[in-house]
Symmetry: C2
Subunit: 216 residues, 2 copies
């Protein structure tokens, strides 16, 4: 038994198998959804027999948890990348839509219908606060101060989620609107609710994002 460091060949092999399992899991989720994720199917596709995977993941829940945190980390990375070229709201919006359309099930895994008995691990709160921070940066640069709305008083009282970010209430309001409105369009699009009614979701998304990017 050696200390941590991913040095021993055993641990390297173990990590390699874990990532390979997760790759197959993503592939399977993308085609059949998260609820149809089968440990046995992954094992067979990897040439191993069922219970072998339990050496690497304690169960289906742990595997899904890992996938969720990976998805959050991926979104945080794309947000950081989009924010690197100048943190404006429009760029973040386009990055969000591109990321969501790139793998719809990955988006739905973290923002879609949750499994009732499932609780997200503590890791994701850290990552999601990082996502929120870049969003707040972009929003703070856009709305210096605007007339107070009834929401502002409530947001002033409960701004702990902003995690110490020095943003005006109007910026918090804009960040929340960014989140809820774009998620509204995106989730309905990914669920296929616009299919068959002829509307182009891209234009709907663009219109909402345009209103969100307009300096108040």
């Amino acid at each position: 038994m050696t200390e941590a460091g991913a040095k021993t060949p055993r641990e390297r092999y173990r990590a390699q198998v874990r990532t390979e399992v997760k790759e197959h899991a993503w592939e399977q989720i993308a085609t059949a959804g998260a609820s149809a994720l089968s440990l046995n199917a992954i094992a067979k596709r990897m040439g191993m027999s069922g219970p072998a995977l339990y050496r690497y993941f304690a169960g289906r829940d742990e595997l899904i948890t890992e996938l969720v945190t990976d998805a959050y980390r991926s979104l945080a990375d794309t947000f950081r990348a989009a924010s690197g070229t100048g943190a404006d709201v429009a760029a973040l919006g386009h990055a969000l839509r591109g990321w969501a359309l790139e793998d719809p099930q990955r988006y739905l895994l973290i923002y879609g219908t949750p499994v009732p008995g499932y609780h997200a691990p503590d890791d994701v709160t850290a990552i999601s606060s990082e996502i929120l921070a870049t969003l707040l940066d972009a929003c703070a640069a856009l709305s210096p101060d605007s007339p107070a709305t009834p929401l502002d008083a409530h947001l002033e009282d409960h701004r702990d989620w902003a995690d110490g970010h020095s943003a005006q209430p109007a910026a918090l309001r804009r960040a929340l609107a960014f989140w809820t409105r774009l998620h509204g369009v995106l989730s309905l699009e990914l669920a296929g609710h616009f299919r068959g009614m002829g509307i182009d979701p891209a234009q709907l998304f663009a219109a909402e994002l345009d209103e969100l990017s307009r300096p108040d």
Copy 2:
């Protein structure tokens, strides 16, 4: 074999069992989610043994399909009731939120993450167009005509989903915003994404609804 009409005691018994099965299914969905719906558990809780239910439903998918159309019909009913007292947007918004919070899993069943291989039956398109019609009525009474946005051109070309409703493009725009924005807040609230960040979703929802109810 008699003709339709729900007259024979056999058909009445059959219908009664079907509704009882659906009641147990709703109860089970409300506590464990739609993905954990178990035909066997329902049968056992009704005092029958597993495969007996296959006399009443061809399978799990048909049962879920029935529940989905029931949910749509229930939403259409509440919309019609809320619209009966004067079709204003705010009343529809409050009715939507009340209906969603009354049974979150029912809302998520029709607006949440879809099962990838699943296609909604044709019945729901009729019901959802009824829902859209009452929403368009309320929106048409609010926005007579406003400056054209880039979206309006697209909506003029693809207004088949409005189903012959004589509404200005601005009303279509408002109805779509009603749908996407309120769904954005509601779905994130029901998924529990606001829990732990101290925000009151009701105030967020109210703020969005207030902006949607404001005559442009």
